[in-house]
Amino acid sequence: MEHIVLRHRNIPGLDKLDVYLANGGFETFKRVVTSMKPEEVIKIVMASGLKGRGGAGFPTGLKWSFLTKNRPAYYVVCNSDESEPGTFKDREIMEKNPFQLLEGIMITAFAARANTAYNYMRGEFWPVAKVLDTKIAELRARGFLGKNLFGTDYSLDVHLHLGAGAYICGEESALLESIEGKMGQPRLKPPFPADKGLYGMPTVINNTETLTNVPLIVARGAEWYQSIGVKNSAGTKVMCLSGHVNKPGNYELPFGVTLRQVIYDHGGGVPSGKKVKAVMMSGASSVVLSVTDEILDMSLDYDSVAAKGAALGSASVIVMDESVDLSWVILKTTRFFKHESCGKCTPCREGNYWMLHILERLHSGEGTKADVDLLNSVASQVQGKCLCPLGEFAVTPVLSSLKAFRADFDARAKDAAKPKPAPAAKPTPKKEPMAGND
């Protein structure tokens, strides 16, 4: 298949400016700046059906059209925080196809009437940022960034901003706080970024993969993009395949591919021919799906995954084989969310603390079946009560796996019926000291 986002897999050396230029690079940006109106660009992206690849799947062009008119400044921010466990696509884009991302950011900036754009990268991407900075410098040197571009009155510069190890900064309003030099705590919405974003100005914020689609959409047109994928899910999606598969990695595939094809045809199947027990479709914050033939034949597009009670989100597919104990999986996810809760709202801060406490008790052999009920009850109480979706993310795997795999949790209880059904061949997890402020 021809790649759109991972086009470097078809064109060797695409991370070099000369190669990128030889393949039509920045022609679209130049054409847009010299001959189009911002509204015309927004119209094309809207008609293409492109939806946000950062998780929520919101229509991209529509989001751009919400920008409040007649304000003194506009900003575009690219979300390269990529911190959802199981997600590793934006890093590949930045490392291997950096100019297409930058051109996407630049076209978006023109459409948003922004003269400054920031790419927010998680702090661990420090080495990636070092290289990306040199790419931006090349664009300035060649006159693709700077004042009065191509002799017009449009000026633009792009800067990188590094985070410093906080998952919550992937949430758009927390991310904006972080660029402003504050703690990354989410803002109350509304107002939305399109009205009051960075420095109080209207701001477009999109994911890395979303923006990397933009140059080809504007170059080839909305109809071309709509011709790929399925209804309501136009184009391709980079699937991040991890866990129990023979060939984990990024696979850019048209929407509509089935889970079975992703795991078996592309991912090479499950090691030792084991069966798949469960999958998480969008990283650690997903609904845990119990895998049946019906789930394996599910079409991977926004509507079909939603119809199964899950979300395609960033398409970070974590595969778990039949040896996995779901209570151990939930210990891992809960530890993550407890560590990453920003502490601003009580249900998320306290709820995650208590859920982890209960899970650790179960795993130390001291827990009872009443603890499993307590876990269910704490998670249910957190649900729907948090300031931002992080709290919701944290309880989603807990509640869904308690529903589908309750036996795995009960088997951990000391008052469980003996003999224990042998769960995972996993060592009993112990309390792990985590880096940084736990």
């Binding site: 590793f88 702090g123 901003h161 030099g181 991890s242 866990g243 990695g249």
Partner: protein, 163 residues
Amino acid sequence: MLAEKYREQIAATLAKYPADQKRSAVMPLLYMAQSEYGYVTKEALAEVAEIVGVEPTQVASIVGFYSLYYDHAGGQHRVQVCTDLPCALRGADKFADDLCAKFGIKLGETTKDGMFTIEGVMCVAACDKAPVFQAQNKEGIVYHENQTVESAVKVMEELKGKK
């Protein structure tokens, strides 16, 4: 003093943000301080606060909030093994424990010679290349992917040689 030693870099950092939004530079400046002193010292806090024009306590709250800033010295090299779910499904917990055992420490501890701190960290966006660790020191962060205990020990020996 950062302000004198890195005058040009600081000016370039401030120039990335609107003139009335100097505070935005606090994160890049903290990285600068950390690479200069090894961690964010009290003096560094005050220096950064002065440059961006906020109170040192505000800078301290930033250091406390973000896990990649340190307010105390650790080993010269932080070896941060991802033990999050996708990596753990591919054996990362055992890898981390075995690596620690090689150095006679537990996860989260520092070797006696002060050279290495081995820590478990959350997902670092390299889940398809587990086991993975990042080596963090004054020079920055380097990813080491598809590791075995043997290859990791080798990487660490090389780091030790470099000092």
